[in-house]
């Protein structure tokens, strides 16, 4: 792996910049504390003081990592993986809604794309709305969806969260699949005509397989969007579980470490999901003979 060294270098540089940032941003508080205690700090002491505050402006990387460990690995060791203080518990809640929303969004996206591909009317009537739907800020829409689903008697929080999540993630699938289903050229379609092929044959034998590379690219964008949607759905709702709720609670109680740990948990979750889809893409395209 010749690329290992550059990748690690970049990672180290980012970490160094982060430490630098923590040091600069946490210095005022450290100085204030020292002044209050009528102490003077050497540069070394000052640096140390910026790295271990309970409520730092910008936590140092090792603080975030240790907080993350405390709320995940350490809980597992104590057999409390799914206690309410564990990020694994909250992550699982978020993951559940994300996957439900993702499935719903992908279904809607593919269905819409098929409709648009086969009907000019659908293309003219559906596409503009799909685009408009994405210009509305989701933070404005999320509370409305929650209120509405409450109004129709849905008690579970998972449902509105999944809807918000689907709302964000159907769009890349729709756009990608419209492109993918239309990727066969005129010659390809004419060729099928000369075989007297029906709509079903041309869809399943040509359009659908031809759209696979587009589908997977869209799915990777969509799963990340679905996660963001779920987290946004957890923010304004008074939810008490889920990574979004952890971020909000951390904010309200002034515990930046908890916020950052939850943020990182969300990022790691997104990374894992996208990686899994990437693996699935590799497998499927290889099986189809489309990977070289």
């Amino acid at each position: 792996m010749r690329k290992t060294f550059p990748v690690i270098t970049v990672l180290l540089v980012i970490t160094a910049i982060w430490y630098l940032g923590s040091w600069r941003m946490n210095t005022p508080w450290a100085l204030q504390q020292a002044a209050r205690a009528e102490q003077t700090l050497t540069t070394g002491e000052l640096f140390k003081a910026t790295m271990q505050q309970d409520r730092p402006r910008l936590p140092a990387p090792h603080q975030v990592v240790s907080e993350l460990w405390k709320s995940t690995g350490a809980m597992v060791q104590r057999g409390k993986a799914f206690s309410k203080r564990s990020l694994i518990y909250h992550g699982a809640i978020t993951l559940g809604s994300t996957l439900t929303g993702f499935a719903l969004g992908v279904f809607i996206g593919i269905l819409g794309a098929v409709a648009i591909t086969y009907s000019r009317v659908m293309e003219m009537s559906l596409m503009p709305w799909a685009i408009v739907s994405q210009t509305i800020p989701i933070v404005a829409l999320a509370p409305m969806i929650i209120v509405l689903s409450n109004a129709v008697g849905i008690e579970s929080r998972a449902v509105p969260k999944a809807i918000i999540s689907a709302y964000l993630c159907y769009f890349p699938v729709l756009v990608g699949m419209v492109k993918g289903l239309n990727s066969p050229g005129t010659e390809q379609l004419d060729l099928l005509k000369t075989y007297n092929a029906g709509v079903a044959a041309s869809f399943f034998k040509l359009r659908l397989p031809a759209s696979m590379p587009y589908l997977f690219t869209s799915l990777k964008i969509a799963i990340a969007a679905a996660l963001v949607g779920t987290i946004v759905g957890e923010l304004p709702t008074g939810a008490i579980s889920g990574l979004g709720a952890r971020i909000l609670i951390g904010d309200q109680f002034g515990t930046p470490l908890a916020i950052w740990a939850a943020l990182f948990a969300a990022a790691i979750l997104a990374g894992v999901l996208v990686t899994l889809l990437g693996l699935a893409q590799g497998l499927v395209l290889k099986r189809m003979g489309m990977a070289r």
Partner: protein, 268 residues
Amino acid sequence: MNENVRNPSEDTVIRAENLDLTFETTDGPVHALKGVSLDIQRGDFVSFIGPSGCGKTTFLRCIAALETPAGGTLTVNGMTPEQARKSRAYGYVFQAAGLYPWRTIAGNIKLPLEIMGFSRDEQEQRVKNVLQLVDLEGFGGKYPWQLSGGMQQRASIARALAFDAEILLMDEPFGALDEIVRDHLNEQLLALWARTGKTIGFVTHSIPEAVYLSTRIVVMSPRPGRITDVIESPLPKERPLDIRDSQAFLEVAHRVREGLRAGHSYDD
């Protein structure tokens, strides 16, 4: 009414009388075909040659029912082109091989067979036969990208042959290939034609290709798309590549060139 149309006989496979077709484009109407009449006999190898816009491809597409002429009559095996398609009268080969990258060569050849509902055993058998016909035995399991351009085009010919169509319509099938590969494929195509006795309609830009392959050469010219000359080739059916240096070959090529010139095809 036209010297291109002979007495109707049982051997007439394709019969076009006075075909007219105009495309509406943003630049105004384009007269793609005007008064095109032609008979093609069973076992003929007919080339259509002419500059872009002369209607040679359009004519081929009309035969395949991919376009519908606005005027005139066109029959294929005595049926409308639409009916002929349903009775699997022809196989069509495009300029791009157009093989599906997600199917192996054998899988690609099976495509029309699956759509037409052949049994699995029959599919296997036919794939084997046509692969042999185009000299691609042993390549059935390869994916298209593993084959050269010439081999891909041969595979696409095999696909067109797989369901035993009597007529093979080829729209500049070797247009994208280099001259050396092209010579080789021309030779193979002649051998294939001799073995199978198919009727072939072949669109090309190349005078040597048209003369080398054809029993009849249809020279066309643009604006409006029409037939300016139909040349019966005096060349024998056996045609080694060096026949292209013979006097007879050069004379036919000369006449094709004259026909193109008469149609003002060299003006632009």
